[in-house]
């Protein structure tokens, strides 16, 4: 029976400003990362034999390159104690600018690889954004455990989202994940006479078309070309349809977001797993047929297939999380992805062999997002060899980097999704 009186002061916007690392720590981490990614880029570029010839060049330029990058980061205020919302884009911009500037400065100097600059910028971006993502999430989690202690029997349901909490909640919602994947699978084949066969028809058709085009029209004579093509084409289809579908996975579920609370990351993950289920089915059909048809002997490297699969799925999930989050803020992402996929298909060694790419371009092709995974599949089944260390390095970096960055993005922004979709 009380009427509440208010004091004049308005609400205090204690906005959740993530705690940023001190600039000293940030600079030194970035510097260490910068030096190591630059050296790794040289190793990726020249592999084993010619590396010693280029190493002196690399060592002598590394202070300049890493220094330029740090300078660019400072200039773009990436270390400011309270940077603006465009924090992460500033980090990436700084790294790219620094690499570009040092490439310009070192123009014409012998024994320097320009490809290595591009690779360095890419790897360093992944690393720098990745460690910042982990940092922010950890800081948020710690802030919450402090406040939680005082609360007792009551809990804040909006705050289940710590790094560990995510894994727990994903596990808790595994039956939702399963339901969503099964729902999509059921819906896809409901009412169609041939059902699952349609999923085989699409890659089959693509393989037929490319085989005709390459062997009969262009006259490429590669042994077992169909088998080679299939390995790349199937894994590419999985990646391409996952990323395309994931852009809409959050924005197209407005009604759900506005009425039910659940970890939002589930939506893009379910999309990827739905495509992954189809990928596994097609692989389970095509791979044995091909192995028998071409009388391919089974060799030990093939045991690594599950490892590559896991990396591939982790990478795809990471990209899907990034794209789904980005689409909430910019609807253009959908169209960008379509265009990008058309380009990426040709920068990935699917219809051609990585080994036939001109030597100086090889690193660029290897760094194309899907390449390490496609190349790994081809190494295992087509060449029946252990994949090179360079392939593993890029594959693991991409998988872990995409997964961490994607997860951090969703967690950092998911409480704003409901308001923005």
């Amino acid at each position: 029976m009380s009427v509440i009186a208010h004091d004049a002061a308005g609400p205090v916007a204690a906005a959740v400003v993530p705690v940023r690392p001190s600039w000293l720590l940030a600079v030194s981490l970035d510097a260490i990362l910068g030096v190591s990614t630059y050296m790794v880029s040289y190793w990726l570029r020249f592999d084993s034999e010619r590396l010693p010839a280029f190493l002196p060049g690399a060592w002598s330029t590394v202070p300049l390159v890493a220094g330029a990058q740090i300078l660019a980061l400072v200039a773009l205020q990436a270390y400011a104690p309270r940077p603006r919302a465009s924090w992460l884009s500033r980090v990436v911009a700084g790294i790219v600018l620094g690499a570009a500037a040092s490439a310009l400065l070192l123009r014409g100097v012998q024994g320097i690889s320009r490809m290595a600059f591009a690779a360095d910028a890419l790897l360093l971006s992944i690393g720098a954004v990745g460690w910042r993502g982990i940092w922010v999430l950890r800081a948020r989690a710690r802030a919450r455990t402090v406040t939680r202690a005082s609360v007792g029997e009551l809990v804040d349901r909006a705050e289940d989202m710590t790094l560990g909490g995510v894994v727990v909640s994903l596990y808790r919602y595994r039956s939702l994940l399963k339901s969503l994947v099964l729902k999509d699978l059921k819906l896809k084949y409901r009412g169609s006479v041939f059902g699952f066969l349609w999923s085989l028809a699409n890659p089959l058709l693509m393989i037929v078309v490319y085989t005709l085009a390459f062997t009969f029209i262009l006259g490429v004579r590669t042994e077992m070309f169909v088998f080679y093509l299939m390995l790349g084409q199937l894994s590419w289809t999985f990646f391409a349809s996952s990323t395309m579908m994931s852009t809409g996975s959050i924005v197209d579920n407005t009604a759900l977001l506005r009425t039910v609370q659940f970890p939002r990351a589930i939506l893009p993950i379910a999309t990827v797993l739905f495509n992954f289920a189809q990928y596994l089915l097609t692989v389970a059909v095509f791979l044995p047929i091909m192995l028998v048809w071409y009388r391919v002997p089974l060799v030990e490297p093939m045991l690594l297939f599950p490892v590559v699969l896991v990396l591939h799925v982790a990478f795809t999930i990471g990209i899907a999380l990034i794209l789904a989050t980005a689409t909430v803020f910019f609807r253009d992402v959908r169209h960008l992805v379509e265009v990008a996929l058309a380009v990426l298909f040709w920068t990935t060694p699917i219809v051609y062999e990585l080994g036939r790419v001109p030597e100086r371009l090889r690193l660029l092709i290897l760094l194309s997002p899907m390449s390490p995974f496609v190349v790994a599949y081809q190494k295992l089944f087509f060449f029946r060899e252990w994949p090179d260390a360079t392939v593993w390095l890029v594959a693991v970096t991409y998988a872990v980097g995409a997964f961490v960055i994607g997860g951090a993005l969703v967690l950092a922004f998911e409480d704003r999704f409901t308001e923005l979709v």
Binding site: M1, S2, V3, P11, L154, D156, S175, Q261, T418
Partner: protein, 445 residues
């Protein structure tokens, strides 16, 4: 006190983006031309709300549209996160929200598949769902249809399934948002029964509604929100009075009373704010009778009529030809009415409903009219569509474009009628003493 929900100085702030666009193109244009630039306005949906709800309490959240009621509900459900302050809920309590029923249903899936999907969305495992699946089906009464894709369901069946899931989830805390606004009479009765059942089991209920009767029936405690602030917390009857006083203070932007005495004083200065509406009902009867009402006509009547006027309708018309619908839900749906009506009247509905409700009301009434039927409605005139200023009507009531009592431009209502296949006219010479005038809407022939 065994607290299950506690709000500590909760504020929620939304950014209203004018000129908002999620397209990159427009953002780039914004750099160049101010016309495309996005301007951001802050909007505090809730300001420093502190509130404790104990186990087994049924609390009604009341307030006009945009006062932050639904936002508060969504904060409890953790769909939104408070901008500042903390909203705490008892550990391990299951919260079920009937904010929108049947969300997440997929039309191509069968009822059974949708039940499993929906419970999974609410965090249940398959085993848990197996255990309650039978209850959900029998509760919904859809045993025969459960394996049919729900695109073939009627909207009533859809609602029933959604409600059955929400009800059988056996929540510890139940959040209800205006659910009486949907479904037929039968469905609404079921809702009330279920909610009463929850109350008996000592569950906690937070209920958002405009319908005073529903709040009175369900809740023991009322919280009134006004422009995001909690202005009253206490007894239901007092709360409803307080809300009424807020709605009809005589002036639009009157400051919220800062103390109980001020509020009480205000209630006294507004004696029987319903007399105006009742008066309008009697006046409408006379008008409609003049316009040639026959005893054999079937009449649908909704609004706020006094018993005397209802009796006049009843005695004038043949038996069972008078269908009065006086609760809030009637505005949105006329479920259960199978016969068509000759005359429908809405007294004091248009000025007291937001425009989307008015549009729905027109659409559903036009559907239930005979081809030569008429629909009479009172309405505050706004002569100029561009005029958003309060207008003082002839009897001194001030009507608004954005709060009750509303004035809507004639053109706006004409557009709605047009789109549902009807025409609207002013009834000439019907200047009502209360300042309302009369519209007649008839299906286009």
């Amino acid at each position: 006190m065994n607290t299950v929900i506690e709000a500590r100085n909760v504020s929620k702030h939304f950014l209203l983006r004018h000129n908002a666009s999620v397209e990159l193109k427009v953002r780039f244009l914004g750099l160049l031309s101010p016309r495309h630039r996005q301007s951001i306005e802050e909007f505090w949906a809730l300001k420093n709300v502190s509130l404790q709800i104990a186990r087994g309490e049924a609390v009604g959240l009341i307030g006009r549209n945009g006062s932050g009621k639904s936002t508060f509900l969504k904060l409890i459900a953790a769909i939104h996160r408070p901008t500042s302050g903390r909203l705490l809920v008892a550990r391990d309590s299951r919260i079920s929200s009937m904010i929108e029923l049947g969300v997440g249903f997929h039309p191509e899936l069968t009822g059974r598949e949708n039940v499993y999907l929906n419970t999974a969305i609410h965090g249940l495992t398959r085993q848990e769902t197996d255990a309650i699946y039978g209850d959900i089906v029998s509760y919904s009464g859809l045993e025969h249809f459960i394996d049919v894709p729900i695109k073939n369901f009627s909207s009533g069946m859809y609602m029933r399934l959604g409600f059955a899931i929400a009800a059988v989830l056996a929540p510890d805390i139940l959040l209800l948002d205006e659910i009486f606004a949907v479904g037929d009479a039968d469905f609404q009765q079921r809702c009330v029964q279920t909610i009463m059942g929850f109350l008996d089991q000592g569950k906690t209920i937070v209920f958002v509604s405009h319908a005073a009767e529903a709040v009175r029936a369900i809740c023991q405690r009322a919280c009134v929100l006004n422009q995001g602030e909690l202005v009253f917390d206490g007894d239901v009857d007092e709360g409803l009075h307080f809300y009424d006083a807020l709605l009809h203070p005589g002036g639009h932007n009157q400051a919220v009373p800062a103390s109980h005495t001020a509020a009480a004083a205000q209630i006294e200065t507004q004696p029987g704010s319903d007399t105006r509406r009742e008066d309008s009902a009697a006046w409408m009867f006379d008008r409609v009778a003049q316009a040639g009402l026959q005893p054999s006509d079937r009449v649908l009547h909704f609004g706020n009529a006094d018993p005397a006027t209802i009796e006049r309708w009843r005695s004038f018309l043949e038996e069972n030809h008078y269908v009065p619908l006086f609760d809030d839900a009637s505005v949105f749906g006329l479920g259960g009415q199978t016969e068509l009506f000759d005359v429908a009247i809405a007294d004091s509905v248009f000025p007291f409903r937001p425009f989307n409700a008015v549009a729905r009301c027109i659409a559903s009434v036009v559907r239930t009219l005979k081809p030569n039927g008429r629909f009479y409605a009172t309405w505050f005139e706004n002569p100029d569509p561009a005029n958003f200023e309060p207008i003082v009507q002839p009897n001194g009531i001030t009507s608004f474009s954005d709060s009750e009592p509303y004035h809507y431009p004639f053109g706006l209502i004409a557009n709605v009628c047009e789109s549902v296949g009807a025409v609207v006219e002013r009834v000439p010479g019907t200047g009502h003493p209360a300042g309302e005038s009369l519209l007649v809407i008839s299906p286009r022939r």
